[in-house]
């Protein structure tokens, strides 16, 4: 072991050149690529599976949380823009549910565009709608494609080496957005990051599962889980593991799968679930936390808790932070500012971060990793990338006022007033 091997040099064909290349087709990648393309940048989106959605679909995490802080009396919806558009388009096809989301919540009128704290979606309708939204915006899709490494010159990212059934290729881009969740590309580019190797602190991985054949007339009033039509989606086996270690990930998949089946046996003892059967487990175990990169600013726990305002705010995150309070407790304020500097990694140029790899301490990360704020931040990142292309500047030199103006114009929420 540990004998280093150098692969022989090989010619790698350049398969495409874009303004913006987004790595990872989870919610962050979907939204940032749409935002980038809509703002005029020639944009490519790279995804390892044959469908988009990442944790939302492959992870079977079928609820989007964090559209608003639920604290009464004056809470507002803190996430709109592309995230809201996605929900409304799924709603048109009958793919959105606001009851039995796994959380108690106040009702809002979706038809009027008002979203509650959490919505549940049908994962197949999600796949269908996001394909349409991404393609309508003009994004070039690379499905079944792995991103291997960043192409880097003088601390500036120039593109990504990809691998798929057509073999190995290079995709060049002026700006690369790492929305891979684990920040694989940013890490390979040499961007500095932190990763919690302390198992006590690191968030566990969970395998989601889905049951059918539930007698809804007999189920208890309060059930821990999500109902979609007459199927039940819930959290199965949880395992502590390091998401950037393949061996640990293999162990996690095996252990979690075993625990999921044990859990189902318990669930089947509940009234209404006696004849339930498993119809699917998540394609990929749900990984909550791996690398968090060190950006131009790392948002502090105290910033989030104390509602510190930032001049370069690009999104607002109002989802609870269990790490700080010890349980799911909503902030005493409407939501915290996410500054632009949190998505701009230190040391490396032409690279932006979107998704759960952005620059935050663990407490604010736990809030912003939720899909609604995650998508709000991603919209800002994709927009920022396109504006960088338009004005010919690198991300850390972008005119923030212009970014904020465009975001507001495009229905993003960046203030609580």
């Amino acid at each position: 072991m540990m004998e280093f091997i150098e692969e022989p040099k090989r010619k790698t064909p350049v398969t495409g050149e874009y303004d913006v290349v987004v790595v990872g087709g989870g919610v962050a990648g979907i939204v940032s690529s749409i935002a980038s393309a809509r703002n005029g940048a020639r944009t490519a989106l790279i995804e390892q599976y044959g469908f988009l959605g990442g944790t939302a679909t492959a992870g079977l995490m079928v609820s989007i949380n964090g559209f608003r802080n639920q604290r009464k009396p004056n809470h507002i919806q803190t996430v709109r823009g592309i995230a809201q558009e996605l929900v409304l388009r799924m709603h048109q096809l009958g793919g959105v549910y606001t009851k039995n989301t796994g959380y108690e919540q106040e009702e809002f009128d979706i038809d009027k565009g008002e979203l509650p704290y959490s919505i549940v979606f049908d994962p197949e309708i999600f796949k269908y709608v996001v394909n349409k939204m991404v393609l309508e915006s003009g994004v070039k899709l690379y499905l079944h494609t792995y991103a291997l490494e960043a192409i880097i010159e003088n601390k500036s990212v120039k593109g990504v080496i990809i691998h798929n059934k057509s073999g190995r290729q290079a995709i060049l881009g002026n700006i690369i957005i790492d929305a891979s969740g684990d920040g694989d590309i940013a890490a390979s580019a040499g961007a500095p990051f932190v990763i919690d190797k302390d198992s006590g602190k690191r968030m566990a991985m969970t395998q989601m599962f889905r049951l059918a054949n539930i007698d809804l007339s007999r189920t208890p009033e309060k059930i821990h889980g999500i109902l979609i039509k007459n199927t039940y989606v819930s959290w199965g086996g949880s395992v502590d593991a390091i998401g950037t270690d393949a061996e640990d990930l293999t162990r996690a998949e095996i252990e979690a799968r075993e625990k999921t089946w044990e859990k189902i046996e318990e669930i089947k003892k509940m009234p209404g679930f006696e004849d339930a059967f498993l119809i699917e487990t998540a394609t990929h175990i749900g990984v909550r936390e791996t690398r968090r990169f060190i950006g131009e600013y790392m948002l502090k726990e105290s910033d989030a808790i104390n509602d510190v305002r930032f001049d370069d705010v690009i999104a607002i995150s109002s989802n609870p932070v269990p790490a700080y309070y010890g349980y799911r407790y909503f902030f005493n304020h409407l939501g915290f500012d996410v500054p632009y500097r949190c998505v701009v990694p230190k040391e490396i140029d032409n690279l932006l971060l979107a998704g759960r790899n952005i620059s935050m301490e663990q407490a604010p990360f736990q809030s912003a990793r939720s899909m609604a704020p995650n998508m709000a931040i991603a919209q800002a990142v994709g927009t920022a990338a396109a504006l960088c292309i338009k004005s010919g500047v690198i991300p850390r030199e972008l005119n923030i006022r212009e970014l904020q103006r465009v975001l507001k114009e495009q229905n993003a929420v960046i203030s609580r007033e």
């Binding site: 022989p8 090989r10 899709l141 039509k229 990929h284």
Partner: protein
């Protein structure tokens, strides 16, 4: 073009490295490990089973196609590890076992519906029990490194760790596409597009909340029912419908009417695997073709469901409760081996002195093995020309299209997998090359392990 060099950090050493955790690879890895070789199995997904649980309609044809031939005896051809998997699935409540088709049996005589989720669990458990087997999930193969022309030194793999290297004495390429063997000097044909022998891809999906009896009554009334089977589903105590085939296009017209419709049900009120949409023919090794196929077929899934809900009784409250993780690819590279079965070999039901198993199903309504019999698969069909330390198993063997219509099927892939894995391990133990391995020794070992021989 850019010049790229990768730094690779870790190396793993083993006797046999199996590429791909579909049915061929999974069975192959078990066979290799049990034969005594230190084995690594590399799979890109977080579970095993490949097309068997993602893309096909469950297992079938462990037996010959005897039902249309009154004088043909019913013979179980596929035994050994594949049968052990079925036994484990039945025990775990994940299969009906082998059941006879009631209608449409001139296509498939014996069906073996499996629950894909139980399959995933059982497969992982079977691997965990093998001390010689190191399973690497979420790991894909990036490139092949040669020691010399025709000899593989190792493969570069990509996972969340980054790039690593597996060095092995023997390789078994069960990738479906021949990703490793084709880069090691093997002769192959890349079959695509409009060429003869190219296929389209499908996308199977799952429909929940279906009244199966109501839909079958309707199909029967309209005389468009093409296949039917009943069996006792796990957890149930009476027979219910496990297979439906329909020819909707004979009665209905329109863009969203599926031209063919085959579905297997292993759970109540559910069509667990629905196979009714396709796209192509295309180049399934092309990233852009695959991307396009995914987009088009995922749209077709929703449209097909809407049509079923409107026009077919039993489907009015149904919904798509899942789609396969990927489009189902049928053929890409055809690897030339020491022997390539001819159409006559298969149709005449020929036997071979070095055969490692037999099979009887041809996925083509125009062809049958003579008298409902079976044909032998020679060991030489698993030994690629031009590579010294690699065997192949699965859908990339067979050059002839009709032969491929047969050998690409899951149960046949499992037969090949057991033989290839056993052969790879024997090559290591005997310190020989696949082309020089005694087929007698291999056949004795396979017989000892319960694989079928006539």
């Amino acid at each position: 073009m850019m010049e790229v060099t990768f730094k690779i950090q870790n190396q793993y050493d083993c006797d046999v490295c199996v590429i791909g955790g579909g049915t061929a690879g999974f069975v192959s890895a078990l066979a290799s490990a049990r034969t005594g070789a230190k084995t690594i199995l590399v799979e890109k997904n977080g579970f095993l089973g490949g097309t068997a649980i993602n893309g096909a309609t469950g297992l079938h044809s462990f037996f010959n196609i005897y039902k249309p031939f009154p004088r043909a005896p019913k013979v179980q051809l596929v035994k050994g590890i594949p049968q052990e998997i079925v036994d484990e699935l039945v025990k775990a409540g994940g299969s009906t076992g082998h059941i006879e088709m009631e209608e449409g049996y001139d296509f498939v005589s014996i069906l073996t519906p499996v629950d894909p989720e139980v399959f995933k669990m059982v497969a992982l458990k079977m691997c965990e029990k093998e001390p010689n087997l190191n399973l690497m999930l979420h790991t894909s193969v990036i490139s092949t490194v040669l020691k010399e022309e025709g000899k593989i030194e190792g493969i570069v793999i990509n996972s969340k760790i980054g790039l690593e290297f597996i060095k092995a004495k023997m390789f078994v390429d069960c990738s479906g596409d021949g990703d490793v063997v084709s880069k090691a000097g093997a002769k192959f044909r890349h079959i695509k597009g409009e060429e003869e022998g190219a296929y389209g891809v499908g996308l199977t999906f799952r429909i929940g909340n279906v009244d199966l009896e109501e839909s079958v009554n309707f199909l029967r009334r309209e005389n468009i029912l093409t296949q039917l089977a009943r069996g006792i589903k796990p957890g149930d105590n009476r027979e219910s419908i496990v297979r439906i085939g329909a020819k909707f296009s004979e009665k209905f017209k329109g863009e969203d009417v599926p031209r063919y419709f085959l579905a297997t049900s292993i759970r109540p009120n559910e069509l667990t695997h629905v196979n009714c949409i396709g796209f192509g023919p295309l180049d399934s090794l092309s990233r852009d073709d695959l991307t396009r196929a995914e987009i088009i077929l995922r749209e077709k899934v929703q449209k097909t469901l809407n049509w079923l809900k409107t026009d077919i009784p039993g489907f009015s409250d149904s919904f798509v409760s899942g789609t396969s993780i990927s489009v189902g690819v049928r053929r890409t590279r055809a690897i030339e081996c020491l022997y390539n079965l001819s159409r006559e070999d298969v149709l005449e039901g020929r036997s071979f002195p070095d055969e490692i198993g037999r099979f009887g199903f041809i996925d083509n309504p125009n062809y049958f093995v003579k008298d409902g019999g079976s044909y032998g698969i020679p060991y030489r069909c698993l030994v690629p020309i031009g590579v010294k330390n690699c065997l192949v198993a699965g859908r990339m063997i067979s050059l002839d299209f009709v032969v491929h219509n047969s050998t690409r099927n899951t149960a046949c892939c499992m037969v090949q997998g057991q033989a290839a894995g056993t052969a790879a391990a024997l090559c290591v133990l005997e310190n020989t090359e696949p082309a020089k391995l005694s087929s007698k020794l291999l056949r004795e070992k396979l017989a000892e392990d319960g694989a079928y021989f006539e």
